[in-house]
């Protein structure tokens, strides 16, 4: 592409306010030299960054850069995959997620996840979906469940839509509503960190917009780490951006970590500039 053509920067990133580094506040998660391999083939190499507390951190990069693979390491979902191995150190607060004696089920009450496609439990009502995490963890008190359900559904901006039909099946909701139900389900156990794996990639633009609007509310409640294909989305919703790229050997590498506005306006690495200007990927 001719370098004389200037590509307009995504909305909301061009202001004169000084750029504040979200990492100057409290930190929710530390990643140190995190590598993920499948059957000894490296998929993500030596990623190191800090996830600021109560902020939105976006993992961006083209297909194959290891965004999702890295995300799934953060709540030990790779434990389910034979041949998968996570190396390095991932700290949640001061807990080493892969430390000795750490059990993945306990970690996952602290690190929740929302997936690419809405996946409400098909046999359960809206209400049962939302409180399922609490019930499975041994909480059965009615008033606790009711409060949690209302709070989580409000948090997912779904309460007004469903408060009169909590007993209806989850499948009666639209795709976007189902995804917000899944967000509510994840919120109800009040995790410290919420992982979102391209949560809008299966949704229409209006539903996508709703969920993006939700993100700025969500971060008051939970630290969000979102994988997204969509650079505009990263620019709109995130405070910190981690840019990953596939290296020579096919493993994803961290190219640049910066406050979102800095990464989108004056990135340090020329490859970041090329990517955000749509010259590849």
């Amino acid at each position: 592409m001719d370098s004389a053509i200037t590509v307009p920067a995504p909305d909301g990133v061009l202001t004169d306010e000084p750029i504040e580094d979200p990492r100057s506040g409290p930190i929710a998660m530390h990643l140190r030299d995190v590598s993920v391999s499948f059957n000894n083939r490296l998929a993500v190499r030596d990623v190191t960054f800090e996830v600021p507390d109560n902020k939105v951190t976006a993992l961006i990069g083209p297909s194959g850069s290891g965004k999702t693979t890295l995300l799934r390491a953060l709540n030990r979902l790779h434990d389910l995959t034979k041949g998968a191995k996570v190396q390095g150190e991932i700290l949640l607060g001061d807990t080493d997620l892969y430390g000795k004696g750490m059990h993945p089920t306990l970690i996952r009450t602290r690190v929740g996840m929302v997936f690419q496609r809405p996946n409400p439990f098909p046999t359960m009502s809206i209400y049962d979906n939302v409180v399922s995490g609490l019930r499975f963890n041994g909480i059965h008190k009615k008033n606790v469940l009711n409060e949690a359900a209302e709070s989580a559904l409000i948090g997912a901006a779904l309460w007004d839509r469903v408060k009169d039909r909590l007993k209806a099946h989850a499948s009666t909701l639209s795709g976007g509503e189902q995804q917000r139900l899944c967000i509510a389900r994840a919120l109800a156990v009040e995790p410290e960190v919420l992982l979102m794996d391209e949560p809008t990639s299966a949704l229409d633009p209006i539903s996508t917009q709703r969920i993006e609007e939700l993100m700025s509310e969500l971060k008051n409640r939970v630290t969000v780490i979102i994988v997204t294909h969509n650079m505009q989305q990263a620019a709109r919703v995130s405070d910190l951006c981690v840019f990953l790229l596939m290296g020579q050997d096919g493993a994803g590498e961290q190219i640049e970590v910066a406050p979102t506005r800095k990464l989108f306006t004056e990135p340090d690495d020329p490859r970041t500039l090329d990517y955000i200007h749509g010259r590849f990927g």
Binding site: N54, T109, I139, A148
Partner: protein, 308 residues
């Protein structure tokens, strides 16, 4: 964290409650999960143990009978002087090859084409056929023997013959093949069909050129599994094939078959040696069934690999 400065934040309270409840119930949940895993292990061990026991009995009692003579001679009658003169099972091997082969020839094309129809068409008629098929899968196999006996052996005067057995086995196989090929065809992603239709192909051509080739491993497995079921069937053959002691390649004459041969040897009142030799026949039969199952897995795996 601005939220935490509020007095008694319900969200932080709930977070503490969830995490402490999860931690407290963790030991119990781990124990329950270990116990359940143990129960699964025991049930699995039970199934495997029975299978291993059967195979052990088969091999320990059967392997002594296996020899070239046993496989290539017709049965003979043991005498007091020669109590081990039980002959062989050539008649049963040949009979099984002819009867099962003809059953395959009759059942596989019908079953697969009908299964294709079940998967691709959707109307009241097809639904009625599907229900009928399901009922037929549950039909006691001995009834098929009675049915074919009445119709072919008596009414159309075919007499005891291998072909009558083949017809009974084919009737037994068809619903199994139909059901399994319906599943195989349905597992072809509809996006492939839509891609074909979008190129202007007719529905039939999409079925023939895209759906069937994609579903081939499944169809092959369907045919082989139905065959391995038919090879071991005894009841429908009991009064259809004549159960002779001499070898015949002619399906319109009386024949024998491996499971019938086992039945005859066990029930004979002549000699304990002959009775024991049924283990040899059983070992041959189980080996054949094993290879059919193995073959269907290999075929599926092979065509899967070829596709990549």
């Amino acid at each position: 964290m601005s939220v935490s400065t509020l007095p008694a934040d319900p969200i932080l309270e709930r977070r503490a409650l969830v995490q402490s409840t999860a931690r407290r119930s963790f030991a119990r949940r781990t124990l329950v999960s270990k116990v359940m895993l143990g129960v699964c292990g025991v049930t699995l061990a039970f199934c495997v143990a029975i299978l291993v026991w059967i195979i052990y009995l088969l091999i320990s009692n059967g392997v002594q009978w296996i020899s070239v003579n046993y496989l290539t001679q017709d049965p003979s009658t043991p005498t007091v002087l020669q109590p081990n003169n039980v002959g062989g099972i050539k008649n049963a091997i040949v009979g099984s090859i002819v009867i099962d082969g003809l059953a395959i020839v009759m059942a596989v094309p019908i079953g697969i084409v009908a299964g294709l129809l079940l998967a691709e068409a959707d109307n009241a008629f097809v639904n009625a056929i599907r229900t009928t098929t399901e009922v037929m899968t549950g039909l006691p196999s001995i009834l098929l023997g009675v049915f074919v006996y009445e119709i072919l052996v008596i009414k159309y005067k075919l007499g005891f013959s291998g072909i009558a057995g083949s017809v009974a086995l084919a009737i037994l196989m068809i619903p199994i093949i139909m059901k399994a090929s319906e599943v195989a065809v349905r597992s072809v992603p509809s996006s492939l069909k839509e891609a074909g239709l979008s190129l202007g192909l007719s529905k039939g051509r999409v079925s023939r050129r895209i759906v069937v080739p994609t579903a081939t491993p499944g169809l092959l497995t369907a045919a082989l599994l139905a065959t391995s079921r038919a090879v071991g069937e005894t009841a429908p053959l009991l009064w259809l094939i004549g159960a002779t002691y001499t070898t015949s390649w002619d399906p319109f004459k009386e024949q024998s078959a491996l499971p019938i041969s086992i039945y005859q040897a066990f029930l004979n009142g002549i000699s304990p040696q002959l009775q024991q030799s049924a283990w040899g026949t059983a070992l041959v039969l189980v080996t054949v069934v094993l290879f059919l199952n193995l073959g269907s897995r290999l075929a599926a795996a092979y065509s899967q690999r070829e596709r990549r």
